[in-house]
Symmetry: C2
Subunit: 291 residues, 2 copies
Protein backbone atom coordinates (compact mmCIF):
# COMPACT_ATOMS: atom_id res chain seq x y z
CA UNK A 1 0.00 0.00 0.00
CA UNK A 2 1.21 3.48 -0.82
CA UNK A 3 1.83 5.34 2.42
CA UNK A 4 -0.23 8.37 3.38
CA UNK A 5 1.72 11.56 2.87
CA UNK A 6 3.96 10.03 0.25
CA UNK A 7 4.62 12.46 -2.61
CA UNK A 8 2.43 11.24 -5.44
CA UNK A 9 3.83 13.55 -8.07
CA UNK A 10 6.84 11.33 -8.74
CA UNK A 11 4.82 8.12 -8.89
CA UNK A 12 4.91 6.09 -12.08
CA UNK A 13 2.85 3.13 -13.22
CA UNK A 14 3.71 -0.12 -14.96
CA UNK A 15 0.77 0.70 -17.25
CA UNK A 16 2.25 2.56 -20.21
CA UNK A 17 0.83 5.94 -21.20
CA UNK A 18 2.03 9.18 -22.80
CA UNK A 19 3.44 11.93 -20.60
CA UNK A 20 0.48 14.16 -21.47
CA UNK A 21 -2.17 11.54 -20.67
CA UNK A 22 -5.10 12.89 -18.68
CA UNK A 23 -5.21 9.59 -16.83
CA UNK A 24 -1.84 9.17 -15.11
CA UNK A 25 -1.59 7.14 -11.91
CA UNK A 26 -1.98 10.47 -10.07
CA UNK A 27 -5.58 10.80 -11.32
CA UNK A 28 -7.52 7.58 -10.53
CA UNK A 29 -10.98 8.81 -11.54
CA UNK A 30 -14.09 6.72 -10.89
CA UNK A 31 -16.76 5.67 -13.39
CA UNK A 32 -18.92 2.80 -14.60
CA UNK A 33 -18.69 0.60 -17.69
CA UNK A 34 -20.16 -2.44 -19.36
CA UNK A 35 -17.68 -5.26 -18.86
CA UNK A 36 -17.70 -6.94 -22.29
CA UNK A 37 -16.80 -10.35 -20.86
CA UNK A 38 -19.44 -10.54 -18.14
CA UNK A 39 -21.96 -8.23 -19.86
CA UNK A 40 -22.54 -6.55 -16.49
CA UNK A 41 -22.18 -2.88 -15.62
CA UNK A 42 -19.61 -2.37 -12.84
CA UNK A 43 -17.63 0.44 -11.29
CA UNK A 44 -14.25 1.15 -12.80
CA UNK A 45 -11.22 3.42 -12.87
CA UNK A 46 -8.79 4.31 -15.62
CA UNK A 47 -5.02 4.50 -15.98
CA UNK A 48 -3.72 5.64 -19.37
CA UNK A 49 -5.97 4.02 -21.95
CA UNK A 50 -6.88 1.08 -19.74
CA UNK A 51 -10.24 0.79 -17.99
CA UNK A 52 -9.99 -1.30 -14.83
CA UNK A 53 -12.96 -3.27 -13.44
CA UNK A 54 -12.94 -2.47 -9.71
CA UNK A 55 -15.44 -5.21 -8.88
CA UNK A 56 -12.84 -7.80 -9.85
CA UNK A 57 -10.18 -6.21 -7.63
CA UNK A 58 -12.69 -5.87 -4.79
CA UNK A 59 -13.74 -9.50 -5.11
CA UNK A 60 -10.10 -10.54 -4.62
CA UNK A 61 -9.89 -8.17 -1.62
CA UNK A 62 -7.14 -6.20 -3.36
CA UNK A 63 -8.77 -2.88 -2.41
CA UNK A 64 -9.11 -3.73 1.31
CA UNK A 65 -5.84 -2.38 2.64
CA UNK A 66 -7.34 0.32 4.88
CA UNK A 67 -9.55 -0.05 7.96
CA UNK A 68 -12.85 0.97 6.32
CA UNK A 69 -12.62 -1.24 3.26
CA UNK A 70 -11.09 -4.07 5.26
CA UNK A 71 -14.09 -4.23 7.57
CA UNK A 72 -16.76 -3.65 4.95
CA UNK A 73 -19.16 -6.60 4.92
CA UNK A 74 -20.55 -5.96 1.45
CA UNK A 75 -19.24 -5.20 -2.04
CA UNK A 76 -19.73 -1.73 -3.51
CA UNK A 77 -18.05 -1.96 -6.92
CA UNK A 78 -20.25 -4.68 -8.43
CA UNK A 79 -23.02 -2.09 -8.40
CA UNK A 80 -23.90 -0.42 -11.73
CA UNK A 81 -23.19 3.05 -10.29
CA UNK A 82 -20.81 4.58 -7.77
CA UNK A 83 -23.57 5.49 -5.29
CA UNK A 84 -22.89 2.71 -2.74
CA UNK A 85 -19.17 3.54 -2.80
CA UNK A 86 -19.88 7.26 -2.48
CA UNK A 87 -22.01 6.67 0.62
CA UNK A 88 -18.95 5.28 2.42
CA UNK A 89 -17.48 8.78 2.52
CA UNK A 90 -14.18 10.50 1.99
CA UNK A 91 -11.89 8.22 4.01
CA UNK A 92 -13.03 5.12 2.13
CA UNK A 93 -12.39 6.91 -1.16
CA UNK A 94 -8.87 7.81 -0.06
CA UNK A 95 -8.21 4.21 0.99
CA UNK A 96 -9.38 2.82 -2.35
CA UNK A 97 -7.42 5.39 -4.32
CA UNK A 98 -4.22 4.52 -2.44
CA UNK A 99 -4.84 0.78 -2.86
CA UNK A 100 -5.30 1.21 -6.63
CA UNK A 101 -2.12 3.27 -6.87
CA UNK A 102 -0.32 0.57 -4.92
CA UNK A 103 -1.47 -2.15 -7.32
CA UNK A 104 -0.52 -0.22 -10.43
CA UNK A 105 2.67 1.55 -9.26
CA UNK A 106 5.88 0.83 -11.12
CA UNK A 107 7.53 -2.22 -9.58
CA UNK A 108 4.39 -3.48 -7.85
CA UNK A 109 3.70 -7.17 -8.38
CA UNK A 110 0.57 -7.40 -6.28
CA UNK A 111 -1.58 -7.90 -9.36
CA UNK A 112 -0.99 -11.31 -10.93
CA UNK A 113 -0.77 -11.67 -14.69
CA UNK A 114 -4.12 -13.48 -14.66
CA UNK A 115 -5.72 -10.60 -12.73
CA UNK A 116 -4.20 -8.07 -15.12
CA UNK A 117 -5.77 -9.96 -18.01
CA UNK A 118 -9.19 -10.26 -16.39
CA UNK A 119 -9.57 -6.78 -14.95
CA UNK A 120 -8.10 -4.45 -17.62
CA UNK A 121 -9.70 -3.38 -20.91
CA UNK A 122 -8.63 -0.96 -23.65
CA UNK A 123 -10.93 2.07 -23.35
CA UNK A 124 -11.65 1.89 -27.07
CA UNK A 125 -13.23 -1.54 -26.61
CA UNK A 126 -15.69 -0.80 -23.82
CA UNK A 127 -18.88 1.18 -23.37
CA UNK A 128 -18.83 3.71 -20.55
CA UNK A 129 -22.04 4.28 -18.60
CA UNK A 130 -23.59 6.90 -16.28
CA UNK A 131 -21.22 6.86 -13.31
CA UNK A 132 -23.84 7.82 -10.72
CA UNK A 133 -27.58 7.68 -10.14
CA UNK A 134 -28.48 11.35 -9.78
CA UNK A 135 -31.04 11.76 -6.98
CA UNK A 136 -31.47 15.52 -7.33
CA UNK A 137 -29.81 18.04 -9.60
CA UNK A 138 -29.20 21.69 -8.75
CA UNK A 139 -27.80 24.20 -11.21
CA UNK A 140 -26.05 27.19 -9.62
CA UNK A 141 -25.54 30.49 -11.36
CA UNK A 142 -22.11 30.90 -9.90
CA UNK A 143 -19.82 32.74 -12.34
CA UNK A 144 -20.21 36.51 -12.40
CA UNK A 145 -19.22 36.84 -16.05
CA UNK A 146 -21.64 34.12 -17.11
CA UNK A 147 -24.48 35.52 -15.00
CA UNK A 148 -23.84 38.97 -16.49
CA UNK A 149 -23.76 37.66 -20.09
CA UNK A 150 -26.94 35.60 -19.77
CA UNK A 151 -28.59 38.44 -17.82
CA UNK A 152 -27.80 40.85 -20.68
CA UNK A 153 -29.22 38.37 -23.20
CA UNK A 154 -32.50 38.07 -21.29
CA UNK A 155 -32.99 41.37 -19.39
CA UNK A 156 -30.44 43.80 -20.83
CA UNK A 157 -27.28 45.14 -19.14
CA UNK A 158 -29.02 47.34 -16.54
CA UNK A 159 -30.85 44.43 -14.94
CA UNK A 160 -28.41 41.69 -15.81
CA UNK A 161 -27.24 41.08 -12.23
CA UNK A 162 -29.93 41.07 -9.55
CA UNK A 163 -29.10 42.31 -6.01
CA UNK A 164 -29.45 38.84 -4.48
CA UNK A 165 -26.68 37.44 -6.73
CA UNK A 166 -24.03 39.18 -4.61
CA UNK A 167 -25.31 37.62 -1.37
CA UNK A 168 -26.46 34.06 -1.97
CA UNK A 169 -25.84 31.20 -4.39
CA UNK A 170 -28.68 31.63 -6.88
CA UNK A 171 -29.73 28.22 -8.16
CA UNK A 172 -32.63 26.09 -9.31
CA UNK A 173 -33.49 22.42 -9.36
CA UNK A 174 -33.15 20.72 -12.73
CA UNK A 175 -34.66 17.46 -13.89
CA UNK A 176 -32.46 14.70 -12.52
CA UNK A 177 -33.79 12.07 -14.94
CA UNK A 178 -32.63 13.99 -18.02
CA UNK A 179 -28.95 13.95 -17.09
CA UNK A 180 -27.19 11.73 -19.60
CA UNK A 181 -23.69 10.59 -20.41
CA UNK A 182 -21.62 12.72 -22.77
CA UNK A 183 -22.12 11.46 -26.31
CA UNK A 184 -25.81 10.70 -25.88
CA UNK A 185 -27.81 12.23 -28.74
CA UNK A 186 -29.49 15.53 -27.82
CA UNK A 187 -32.91 16.14 -29.37
CA UNK A 188 -33.67 19.79 -30.20
CA UNK A 189 -36.80 20.62 -28.23
CA UNK A 190 -40.03 22.09 -29.54
CA UNK A 191 -42.23 24.44 -27.58
CA UNK A 192 -43.59 27.93 -27.13
CA UNK A 193 -41.46 30.94 -28.08
CA UNK A 194 -42.58 34.56 -28.11
CA UNK A 195 -40.92 37.46 -29.89
CA UNK A 196 -43.00 40.15 -28.14
CA UNK A 197 -43.20 38.34 -24.76
CA UNK A 198 -47.00 38.60 -24.98
CA UNK A 199 -48.21 36.04 -27.51
CA UNK A 200 -46.39 32.78 -28.21
CA UNK A 201 -45.93 30.66 -31.31
CA UNK A 202 -45.05 26.97 -31.48
CA UNK A 203 -41.60 26.28 -32.84
CA UNK A 204 -38.52 24.15 -32.74
CA UNK A 205 -35.86 25.85 -30.62
CA UNK A 206 -33.99 28.48 -32.64
CA UNK A 207 -31.49 29.48 -29.96
CA UNK A 208 -29.90 26.31 -28.63
CA UNK A 209 -27.10 27.27 -26.28
CA UNK A 210 -24.50 25.29 -24.45
CA UNK A 211 -22.70 26.04 -21.22
CA UNK A 212 -19.54 24.37 -20.05
CA UNK A 213 -20.04 23.83 -16.34
CA UNK A 214 -18.29 21.92 -13.61
CA UNK A 215 -20.49 19.30 -11.97
CA UNK A 216 -20.03 18.56 -8.28
CA UNK A 217 -21.12 15.10 -7.17
CA UNK A 218 -22.43 15.06 -3.61
CA UNK A 219 -21.86 11.52 -2.43
CA UNK A 220 -23.18 11.51 1.14
CA UNK A 221 -26.63 12.40 2.42
CA UNK A 222 -27.60 14.49 5.43
CA UNK A 223 -30.87 14.09 7.31
CA UNK A 224 -33.67 16.31 6.02
CA UNK A 225 -33.61 19.57 7.97
CA UNK A 226 -30.13 19.08 9.47
CA UNK A 227 -27.86 21.86 8.20
CA UNK A 228 -24.31 20.96 7.21
CA UNK A 229 -21.73 23.28 8.86
CA UNK A 230 -19.85 25.14 6.15
CA UNK A 231 -16.50 23.78 7.34
CA UNK A 232 -17.77 20.21 6.90
CA UNK A 233 -19.28 20.79 3.45
CA UNK A 234 -16.20 19.56 1.58
CA UNK A 235 -16.52 16.13 3.16
CA UNK A 236 -19.79 15.62 1.27
CA UNK A 237 -18.16 16.10 -2.13
CA UNK A 238 -17.24 12.86 -3.86
CA UNK A 239 -15.78 14.44 -6.96
CA UNK A 240 -16.16 16.59 -10.02
CA UNK A 241 -17.12 16.11 -13.65
CA UNK A 242 -17.71 18.27 -16.70
CA UNK A 243 -21.32 19.17 -17.46
CA UNK A 244 -22.89 20.56 -20.61
CA UNK A 245 -26.00 22.48 -19.62
CA UNK A 246 -27.98 22.56 -22.87
CA UNK A 247 -30.43 25.48 -22.99
CA UNK A 248 -33.25 26.50 -25.33
CA UNK A 249 -32.80 30.26 -24.87
CA UNK A 250 -35.82 31.37 -26.94
CA UNK A 251 -38.09 29.15 -24.84
CA UNK A 252 -36.39 30.24 -21.63
CA UNK A 253 -37.08 33.98 -22.08
CA UNK A 254 -40.80 33.24 -22.52
CA UNK A 255 -41.31 30.66 -19.80
CA UNK A 256 -38.91 31.63 -16.99
CA UNK A 257 -41.02 34.35 -15.31
CA UNK A 258 -41.67 34.04 -12.38
CA UNK A 259 -40.73 30.45 -11.48
CA UNK A 260 -37.45 30.03 -13.33
CA UNK A 261 -36.24 27.84 -16.21
CA UNK A 262 -38.26 24.70 -16.89
CA UNK A 263 -38.67 23.08 -20.33
CA UNK A 264 -35.87 25.27 -21.71
CA UNK A 265 -33.44 23.48 -19.41
CA UNK A 266 -34.88 20.09 -18.57
CA UNK A 267 -34.62 18.25 -21.87
CA UNK A 268 -30.97 17.25 -21.51
CA UNK A 269 -27.79 17.88 -19.55
CA UNK A 270 -24.67 15.88 -20.43
CA UNK A 271 -21.93 14.85 -18.02
CA UNK A 272 -18.50 13.35 -18.55
CA UNK A 273 -18.06 9.66 -17.70
CA UNK A 274 -15.17 10.11 -15.25
CA UNK A 275 -15.55 11.57 -11.76
CA UNK A 276 -12.29 13.16 -10.67
CA UNK A 277 -11.68 13.18 -6.92
CA UNK A 278 -10.72 16.13 -4.69
CA UNK A 279 -7.50 14.22 -3.90
CA UNK A 280 -6.48 14.16 -7.57
CA UNK A 281 -7.21 17.86 -7.99
CA UNK A 282 -5.48 18.99 -4.77
CA UNK A 283 -2.06 19.59 -6.42
CA UNK A 284 -3.70 21.99 -8.89
CA UNK A 285 -5.27 24.34 -6.32
CA UNK A 286 -4.80 28.02 -7.10
CA UNK A 287 -6.06 31.19 -5.44
CA UNK A 288 -9.34 32.66 -6.63
CA UNK A 289 -9.20 35.79 -8.77
CA UNK A 290 -9.64 38.91 -6.61
CA UNK A 291 -13.28 40.11 -6.39
CA UNK B 1 -63.72 -11.51 -10.48
CA UNK B 2 -65.92 -8.44 -10.75
CA UNK B 3 -66.90 -7.96 -14.37
CA UNK B 4 -65.74 -4.94 -16.35
CA UNK B 5 -68.54 -2.45 -16.79
CA UNK B 6 -70.39 -3.68 -13.73
CA UNK B 7 -71.87 -0.78 -11.78
CA UNK B 8 -69.55 -0.34 -8.85
CA UNK B 9 -71.70 2.18 -7.04
CA UNK B 10 -73.97 -0.49 -5.55
CA UNK B 11 -71.11 -2.74 -4.48
CA UNK B 12 -70.76 -3.58 -0.78
CA UNK B 13 -67.97 -5.29 1.14
CA UNK B 14 -67.93 -7.90 3.88
CA UNK B 15 -65.47 -5.56 5.63
CA UNK B 16 -67.57 -3.36 7.91
CA UNK B 17 -67.24 0.41 7.67
CA UNK B 18 -69.41 3.49 8.18
CA UNK B 19 -71.47 4.84 5.30
CA UNK B 20 -69.32 7.98 5.24
CA UNK B 21 -65.97 6.15 5.21
CA UNK B 22 -63.48 7.58 2.73
CA UNK B 23 -62.32 4.03 2.04
CA UNK B 24 -65.33 2.12 0.73
CA UNK B 25 -64.84 -0.81 -1.64
CA UNK B 26 -65.33 1.72 -4.47
CA UNK B 27 -62.06 3.46 -3.57
CA UNK B 28 -59.23 0.85 -3.38
CA UNK B 29 -56.33 3.30 -3.00
CA UNK B 30 -52.72 2.12 -3.08
CA UNK B 31 -50.00 2.75 -0.50
CA UNK B 32 -47.14 1.19 1.46
CA UNK B 33 -46.88 0.13 5.11
CA UNK B 34 -44.68 -1.64 7.60
CA UNK B 35 -46.21 -5.05 8.16
CA UNK B 36 -45.87 -5.43 11.95
CA UNK B 37 -45.65 -9.23 11.75
CA UNK B 38 -42.94 -9.52 9.11
CA UNK B 39 -41.29 -6.17 9.85
CA UNK B 40 -41.07 -5.55 6.10
CA UNK B 41 -42.43 -2.64 4.10
CA UNK B 42 -44.89 -3.83 1.44
CA UNK B 43 -47.53 -2.37 -0.84
CA UNK B 44 -51.05 -2.24 0.53
CA UNK B 45 -54.60 -1.06 0.00
CA UNK B 46 -57.32 -0.08 2.45
CA UNK B 47 -60.99 -0.87 2.91
CA UNK B 48 -62.74 0.86 5.79
CA UNK B 49 -60.24 0.89 8.65
CA UNK B 50 -58.41 -2.23 7.47
CA UNK B 51 -55.03 -2.05 5.75
CA UNK B 52 -54.51 -5.04 3.45
CA UNK B 53 -51.03 -6.39 2.62
CA UNK B 54 -51.10 -6.87 -1.16
CA UNK B 55 -47.86 -8.88 -1.17
CA UNK B 56 -49.65 -11.67 0.71
CA UNK B 57 -52.54 -11.73 -1.77
CA UNK B 58 -50.09 -11.60 -4.70
CA UNK B 59 -48.05 -14.47 -3.26
CA UNK B 60 -51.20 -16.62 -3.22
CA UNK B 61 -51.96 -15.52 -6.81
CA UNK B 62 -55.24 -13.98 -5.68
CA UNK B 63 -54.60 -10.83 -7.73
CA UNK B 64 -53.84 -12.70 -10.98
CA UNK B 65 -57.28 -12.88 -12.52
CA UNK B 66 -56.53 -10.74 -15.57
CA UNK B 67 -54.16 -11.41 -18.48
CA UNK B 68 -51.40 -9.00 -17.42
CA UNK B 69 -51.11 -10.05 -13.79
CA UNK B 70 -51.66 -13.72 -14.69
CA UNK B 71 -48.63 -13.71 -16.97
CA UNK B 72 -46.38 -11.58 -14.81
CA UNK B 73 -43.23 -13.51 -13.95
CA UNK B 74 -42.25 -11.42 -10.95
CA UNK B 75 -43.90 -9.98 -7.85
CA UNK B 76 -44.51 -6.24 -7.61
CA UNK B 77 -46.21 -5.84 -4.21
CA UNK B 78 -43.40 -7.16 -2.01
CA UNK B 79 -41.50 -4.02 -3.02
CA UNK B 80 -41.30 -1.18 -0.46
CA UNK B 81 -42.93 1.27 -2.91
CA UNK B 82 -45.53 1.14 -5.66
CA UNK B 83 -43.03 1.95 -8.44
CA UNK B 84 -42.75 -1.57 -9.92
CA UNK B 85 -46.53 -1.88 -9.94
CA UNK B 86 -46.93 1.56 -11.49
CA UNK B 87 -44.57 0.67 -14.34
CA UNK B 88 -47.00 -2.07 -15.43
CA UNK B 89 -49.41 0.63 -16.58
CA UNK B 90 -53.10 1.39 -16.50
CA UNK B 91 -54.52 -1.98 -17.55
CA UNK B 92 -52.61 -3.84 -14.81
CA UNK B 93 -53.91 -1.34 -12.25
CA UNK B 94 -57.50 -1.92 -13.42
CA UNK B 95 -57.02 -5.69 -13.21
CA UNK B 96 -55.67 -5.52 -9.66
CA UNK B 97 -58.38 -3.14 -8.53
CA UNK B 98 -61.10 -5.46 -9.87
CA UNK B 99 -59.44 -8.50 -8.30
CA UNK B 100 -59.31 -6.79 -4.90
CA UNK B 101 -62.95 -5.76 -5.18
CA UNK B 102 -63.80 -9.36 -6.05
CA UNK B 103 -62.03 -10.69 -2.96
CA UNK B 104 -63.65 -8.22 -0.59
CA UNK B 105 -67.15 -7.95 -2.11
CA UNK B 106 -70.09 -8.94 0.04
CA UNK B 107 -70.72 -12.66 -0.35
CA UNK B 108 -67.27 -13.44 -1.73
CA UNK B 109 -65.56 -16.38 -0.04
CA UNK B 110 -62.39 -16.34 -2.11
CA UNK B 111 -60.34 -15.17 0.86
CA UNK B 112 -60.00 -17.91 3.47
CA UNK B 113 -60.29 -17.08 7.15
CA UNK B 114 -56.56 -17.75 7.53
CA UNK B 115 -55.77 -15.33 4.70
CA UNK B 116 -58.07 -12.71 6.22
CA UNK B 117 -56.17 -13.02 9.47
CA UNK B 118 -52.74 -12.83 7.87
CA UNK B 119 -53.33 -10.04 5.35
CA UNK B 120 -55.53 -7.53 7.20
CA UNK B 121 -54.47 -5.02 9.86
CA UNK B 122 -56.34 -2.26 11.74
CA UNK B 123 -55.01 1.02 10.35
CA UNK B 124 -54.46 2.27 13.91
CA UNK B 125 -51.92 -0.51 14.50
CA UNK B 126 -49.66 -0.03 11.51
CA UNK B 127 -47.16 2.55 10.26
CA UNK B 128 -47.81 3.92 6.78
CA UNK B 129 -44.79 4.72 4.60
CA UNK B 130 -43.97 6.78 1.50
CA UNK B 131 -46.07 5.10 -1.19
CA UNK B 132 -43.72 5.90 -4.07
CA UNK B 133 -40.09 6.67 -4.78
CA UNK B 134 -40.26 10.13 -6.35
CA UNK B 135 -37.79 10.35 -9.25
CA UNK B 136 -38.50 13.97 -10.15
CA UNK B 137 -40.93 16.49 -8.75
CA UNK B 138 -42.54 19.32 -10.70
CA UNK B 139 -44.72 21.97 -9.13
CA UNK B 140 -47.19 23.65 -11.50
CA UNK B 141 -48.72 27.04 -10.90
CA UNK B 142 -52.05 25.95 -12.24
CA UNK B 143 -54.87 27.74 -10.41
CA UNK B 144 -55.60 31.28 -11.59
CA UNK B 145 -56.82 32.47 -8.19
CA UNK B 146 -53.76 31.04 -6.44
CA UNK B 147 -51.35 32.46 -9.03
CA UNK B 148 -53.04 35.85 -8.69
CA UNK B 149 -52.92 35.80 -4.88
CA UNK B 150 -49.27 34.77 -4.68
CA UNK B 151 -48.40 37.18 -7.51
CA UNK B 152 -50.01 40.06 -5.55
CA UNK B 153 -48.05 39.04 -2.44
CA UNK B 154 -44.73 39.11 -4.31
CA UNK B 155 -45.13 41.60 -7.18
CA UNK B 156 -48.35 43.52 -6.48
CA UNK B 157 -51.69 43.27 -8.34
CA UNK B 158 -50.53 44.92 -11.59
CA UNK B 159 -47.85 42.31 -12.27
CA UNK B 160 -49.43 39.40 -10.44
CA UNK B 161 -50.20 37.37 -13.57
CA UNK B 162 -47.49 37.27 -16.25
CA UNK B 163 -48.46 36.99 -19.97
CA UNK B 164 -47.05 33.46 -20.29
CA UNK B 165 -49.40 32.13 -17.58
CA UNK B 166 -52.32 32.26 -20.02
CA UNK B 167 -50.49 30.17 -22.63
CA UNK B 168 -48.42 27.48 -20.96
CA UNK B 169 -48.30 25.50 -17.72
CA UNK B 170 -45.82 27.52 -15.65
CA UNK B 171 -43.90 25.16 -13.39
CA UNK B 172 -40.57 24.44 -11.76
CA UNK B 173 -38.69 21.42 -10.58
CA UNK B 174 -38.69 20.88 -6.83
CA UNK B 175 -36.35 18.75 -4.74
CA UNK B 176 -37.59 15.19 -5.05
CA UNK B 177 -35.67 14.00 -1.98
CA UNK B 178 -37.49 16.38 0.36
CA UNK B 179 -40.95 14.97 -0.31
CA UNK B 180 -42.11 13.27 2.87
CA UNK B 181 -45.14 11.48 4.20
CA UNK B 182 -47.86 13.57 5.82
CA UNK B 183 -47.20 13.72 9.56
CA UNK B 184 -43.42 13.98 9.19
CA UNK B 185 -42.11 16.85 11.29
CA UNK B 186 -41.42 20.02 9.30
CA UNK B 187 -38.41 22.07 10.40
CA UNK B 188 -38.79 25.84 9.97
CA UNK B 189 -35.93 26.88 7.67
CA UNK B 190 -33.33 29.55 8.28
CA UNK B 191 -31.81 31.67 5.55
CA UNK B 192 -31.49 35.07 3.94
CA UNK B 193 -34.44 37.47 3.97
CA UNK B 194 -34.44 41.07 2.78
CA UNK B 195 -36.95 43.79 3.60
CA UNK B 196 -35.65 46.23 0.98
CA UNK B 197 -34.75 43.57 -1.63
CA UNK B 198 -31.24 44.99 -1.68
CA UNK B 199 -29.45 43.84 1.47
CA UNK B 200 -30.28 40.60 3.27
CA UNK B 201 -30.27 39.57 6.90
CA UNK B 202 -30.05 36.03 8.30
CA UNK B 203 -33.22 34.85 9.97
CA UNK B 204 -35.53 32.02 10.71
CA UNK B 205 -38.47 32.08 8.29
CA UNK B 206 -41.12 34.55 9.42
CA UNK B 207 -43.65 33.89 6.70
CA UNK B 208 -44.18 30.13 6.56
CA UNK B 209 -47.04 29.43 4.17
CA UNK B 210 -48.85 26.28 3.19
CA UNK B 211 -50.61 25.38 -0.02
CA UNK B 212 -53.08 22.58 -0.41
CA UNK B 213 -52.29 21.03 -3.77
CA UNK B 214 -53.27 17.91 -5.66
CA UNK B 215 -50.33 15.67 -6.46
CA UNK B 216 -50.37 13.68 -9.68
CA UNK B 217 -48.25 10.52 -9.67
CA UNK B 218 -46.82 9.71 -13.10
CA UNK B 219 -46.28 5.97 -13.00
CA UNK B 220 -44.83 5.19 -16.45
CA UNK B 221 -41.73 6.59 -18.12
CA UNK B 222 -41.27 7.77 -21.69
CA UNK B 223 -37.94 7.77 -23.49
CA UNK B 224 -35.98 11.00 -23.15
CA UNK B 225 -36.88 13.29 -26.04
CA UNK B 226 -40.00 11.37 -27.13
CA UNK B 227 -43.04 13.62 -26.71
CA UNK B 228 -46.22 12.09 -25.30
CA UNK B 229 -49.29 12.89 -27.49
CA UNK B 230 -51.75 14.89 -25.44
CA UNK B 231 -54.50 12.32 -25.95
CA UNK B 232 -52.27 9.61 -24.43
CA UNK B 233 -51.15 11.68 -21.45
CA UNK B 234 -53.84 10.28 -19.13
CA UNK B 235 -52.46 6.77 -19.53
CA UNK B 236 -49.27 7.87 -17.75
CA UNK B 237 -51.13 8.94 -14.61
CA UNK B 238 -51.15 6.30 -11.87
CA UNK B 239 -53.16 8.30 -9.38
CA UNK B 240 -53.57 11.33 -7.20
CA UNK B 241 -52.69 12.36 -3.66
CA UNK B 242 -52.89 15.46 -1.52
CA UNK B 243 -49.76 17.58 -1.28
CA UNK B 244 -48.82 20.30 1.18
CA UNK B 245 -46.36 22.62 -0.54
CA UNK B 246 -44.65 24.32 2.40
CA UNK B 247 -43.17 27.70 1.46
CA UNK B 248 -40.89 30.20 3.20
CA UNK B 249 -42.37 33.30 1.57
CA UNK B 250 -39.92 35.85 3.00
CA UNK B 251 -37.00 33.81 1.65
CA UNK B 252 -38.78 33.28 -1.66
CA UNK B 253 -39.22 36.99 -2.48
CA UNK B 254 -35.47 37.55 -2.00
CA UNK B 255 -34.11 34.49 -3.77
CA UNK B 256 -36.53 33.79 -6.62
CA UNK B 257 -35.22 36.30 -9.20
CA UNK B 258 -34.37 35.24 -11.90
CA UNK B 259 -34.18 31.45 -11.53
CA UNK B 260 -37.29 30.72 -9.48
CA UNK B 261 -37.95 29.33 -5.99
CA UNK B 262 -35.15 27.30 -4.42
CA UNK B 263 -34.46 27.08 -0.68
CA UNK B 264 -37.84 28.67 0.04
CA UNK B 265 -39.54 25.63 -1.43
CA UNK B 266 -37.13 22.72 -1.20
CA UNK B 267 -37.02 22.05 2.54
CA UNK B 268 -40.20 19.96 2.70
CA UNK B 269 -43.32 18.96 0.78
CA UNK B 270 -45.75 16.56 2.43
CA UNK B 271 -47.95 14.04 0.64
CA UNK B 272 -50.81 11.86 1.79
CA UNK B 273 -50.12 8.13 2.20
CA UNK B 274 -52.89 6.89 -0.11
CA UNK B 275 -52.77 7.20 -3.91
CA UNK B 276 -56.30 7.34 -5.29
CA UNK B 277 -56.71 5.97 -8.82
CA UNK B 278 -58.37 7.62 -11.83
CA UNK B 279 -60.85 4.71 -11.80
CA UNK B 280 -61.98 5.54 -8.26
CA UNK B 281 -62.38 9.22 -9.11
CA UNK B 282 -64.21 8.70 -12.42
CA UNK B 283 -67.73 8.79 -10.88
CA UNK B 284 -66.97 12.22 -9.39
CA UNK B 285 -66.04 13.97 -12.64
CA UNK B 286 -67.61 17.39 -13.07
CA UNK B 287 -67.28 20.08 -15.73
CA UNK B 288 -64.61 22.75 -15.25
CA UNK B 289 -65.75 26.24 -14.24
CA UNK B 290 -66.16 28.46 -17.32
CA UNK B 291 -63.00 30.50 -18.12
Amino acid sequence: MVQAGQDESAMRSWVEYDADSEFPIQNIPFGAFLNPRTNEVHCCTRIGDKVIDLSILEHERLLSEGPIMENLDHHVFCEPTLNKFMELGKDARIEVRKAIQGLFAEGSEKLSEAMRQSSMFPVSEVSLRMPVFVRDYTDFYSSYSHAYNVGCMIRGPDNAIQPNWLHLPVGYHGRASSIVLSGTEVRRPKGQVSADKKVPTWSACNRMDLELEMGTIIGRANNLGDPIPVNEARDYVFGYCLLNDWSARDMQVWEYVPLGPFNAKNFCSSISPWIVTPEALAPFKVSLPAQ
